[in-house]
């Protein structure tokens, strides 16, 4: 029987776990099994429909596998025999393993709405050929309805409308789009940015049914409204792809994720690890189960899982959750808790904001106003969250906040933060908004 030291099942985090394993254990034979010919960059999927131009421009290069000495079997794993330590595949001979990694990702949620299985209704699957078909379909339609105003929905809407003369409508159940991720004022700003491009947004609206013949023709809302639609994108979330793991007798946890410890080892089998969307996560802040699914978390976990397969010890500290997106030309980012999230937990917090141009002087070309908000635990002064909207530096600025949160920096550490500044690249040293928001927080903390 074929045998590998390490067998990995899955896509992006599988590749990352494989690379990590080979770096730590260059003598081990590592095999990745996946049915997809190519792995898509998950966060790039909405961009296939606009900026990037097609799925072929959004793939994780398989050269990464070759250059890291990882073998790829393009096949579907159909059974894991844990007692025999063997993985069975659809087309290939079974393969024995010493260590096994589940990196099987997530599957889009498909709600039981009447008509959901009509033609041209597309859940967002991370599948090359499938997305190629969606893209092709997109070229012939006039009325696109996107169900779900989270990151995926908003990004799809913004990309679909680019270079196409079509009507795009986002339908969101909650009061605001992006409400699970960002505080109200940032949601409002993002919604405005999107509607300014001509996209329609309907919030507080529930989809009642999808109407039409074989193909979708309209979307009926519970409020009675009916939206013309010849293409529907479903962006309402994803669930762990854990069926194979469950069938193998591995314990599942929150939302049916494969239950893992802080070392990314499954609770059930010491020789089996899991990483990425398919496994359970805990919050950095309170250790409670976290529903967050992020490629950046998946790759962090994968690096740790790959390292821990044999002798190494690395631990994952729990998810702080760091997001970034861009709507038209305005970027948004969140690290850690939102103000809403902290208040829902009943935490005593201090919230401060600071605005600043992202260059200095503000008159530099392409200067954009940054809006920063920081959230501190009132009793200790520890930073627990932050949000940014602004230009393209938003992406890394929110990572500066993430570094502060991960290391539990206190407000006075951030007041004295030593940042590099440059006229063309950052806010001025006098206005640097993370620092200025911290300065304000010191005073509020003192007043308490």
């Amino acid at each position: 029987m074929n045998k590998a030291d390490v067998v990995i099942l899955g896509g992006l985090s599988g590749i990352t776990a494989g690379i990590s394993c080979r770096r730590h254990y260059p003598d081990k034979k590592v095999v990745i099994i996946r049915k997809e010919g190519t792995v898509l960059i998950p966060c790039g999927i909405p961009y296939i429909f606009g900026t990037v131009g097609g799925p072929e421009n959004n793939v994780v290069p398989d050269g990464l596998l070759e250059s890291n000495g990882i073998e790829l079997i393009k096949d579907e794993a159909i059974k894991v025999d844990r007692a025999a330590k063997v993985v069975y595949m659809k087309d290939n001979e079974p393969i024995a393993y010493d260590k096994l990694v589940f990196a099987t990702g997530s599957l889009p949620v498909v709600p039981p709405i009447p008509g959901i299985s009509k033609g041209n209704v597309f859940p967002v699957k991370k599948d090359f050929a499938y997305l190629k078909d969606v893209l092709k379909c997109m070229e012939t339609v006039k009325d696109v309805v996107i169900i779900g105003g989270g990151f995926i929905g908003m990004e799809f809407a913004d990309e679909c409308r680019k270079g196409r003369n079509i009507n795009v409508t986002v339908v969101e159940m909650l009061d605001r789009c992006l409400m699970m991720a960002m505080d109200d004022e940032y949601c409002d700003e993002a919604e405005k940015k999107l509607t300014d491009t001509g996209v329609k947004i309907l919030t507080g609206e529930r989809v009642a049914s999808i109407e039409g013949g074989n193909n979708v023709e309209s979307v009926k809302l519970a409020s009675g409204k009916e939206l013309k639609a010849d293409l529907v994108i479903l962006g309402i979330g994803a669930v762990p792809n854990s069926t194979l793991a469950a069938d193998a007798g591995l314990e599942l946890g929150f939302r049916k994720g494969i239950k893992v410890d802080h070392n990314l080892r499954t609770m059930t089998d010491p020789d089996i690890f899991a990483c990425g969307d398919c496994c359970t996560k805990e919050s950095f802040f309170d250790g409670r189960p976290s529903p967050v699914m992020l490629a950046s978390v998946a790759t962090s976990e994968a690096r740790i899982a790959g390292a821990n397969l044999f002798s190494s010890y690395m631990s994952f500290c729990g998810v702080i959750s760091v997001f970034a997106t861009i709507i038209d030309d305005r970027a948004f980012g969140v690290a850690g808790m939102t103000e809403r999230g902290a208040k829902e937990k009943g935490l005593a917090i201090v919230v401060t904001t600071a605005d600043a141009a992202d260059t200095h002087p503000g008159g530099m070309p392409n200067s954009t106003m940054l809006k920063v908000k920081l959230i501190f635990a009132a009793e200790t002064g520890t930073i627990i969250g932050g949000a940014v909207s602004g230009g393209k530096s938003t992406g890394e600025l929110v990572n500066v906040i993430a570094a502060c949160i991960l290391h539990k920096m206190c407000v006075d550490d951030i007041v004295a933060f030593q940042m590099g500044t440059h006229p063309a690249l950052t806010s001025s040293p006098i206005a640097y908004p993370i620092v200025n928001a911290a300065c304000k927080a010191v005073l509020q903390l003192r007043k308490r």
Copy 2:
């Protein structure tokens, strides 16, 4: 006699100290004394000569003073009587103080080169009218020689050549430009970027004399070369402006900076503080005197000084030194130690590099390759330095590294760093170069 609770002498860090003081002590009367009508954004000065178009577009708005309830006296402080706690000015009545802050900045080094005082030879002074004159002069000349290839010199060279049909030459004494700030490979990249725009660079060359009549006509080098020049910029560094403090009997330290403790209080007088370029600094890493002069450090110190004037306690942890610059379209940043600097100290270090596109997929518009280098202490795995070259995200990316250094993160913390990623804003989660450089470092640390 006039009296203020707090008198502050100086420019940018003076404003910052004043704002910080007023935030912490809203009842205190704060007066800033400075002879300059307007305060220039110091890091923006080279950009006056190109991108920004003039000194009037590069000022710290005085509205900041008004909105923070700070009084401004435009005059020159000429004497401090510490016994009487009074500041004397050139034109105004003396003013008594309870607390005094020196924020008098730095003055450009003017080396004793023969001919240095000829017309059209300009040290870089932070003075509005003076720089307006330099700019006017720049419009009529053909051959500009810049003495000194540090940040100021390189930025001046890059800006002077923009939109002007003139010859620009940088003369640097050391083997490479920017050598005091960056490692060789980044210096080489920056030099190439600049020479690609048509600027000439002469390294390992010392200026012997400045020739001409009343005005400069050429620059003679010790090697015998002679460079035609009708305008010379001196960018070879600055020294603390501490004469007034010395005259008042305050102890000076390294390079004649006003000697301060970690609270930014002068060693000599408990009621006198100093911040910014005029005072001594210590290295974060070893507590030794640091020659670094950065606006971002000055404002950090000023915030702390302003807070500490009365009851608050804040401490400055020493300078890690974080820089960023941009040459043509390529940005460069350094946080903490360079490889060269660490080796000169005889430290056992592990150095790793990682490259990645700053978007993902790399085919996104305006994608640029990032080059990242990290430096870890070999015995402990603590990060002590990092460098980046890339696009505009470099400015904040180097601040992510700064946050890691300030909190003494270990290599495994950085491997598991939770960054936000987004196709248009950052590298992909699989390629994020700070994390990948840390992954490589883990292995090198293990091998030792």
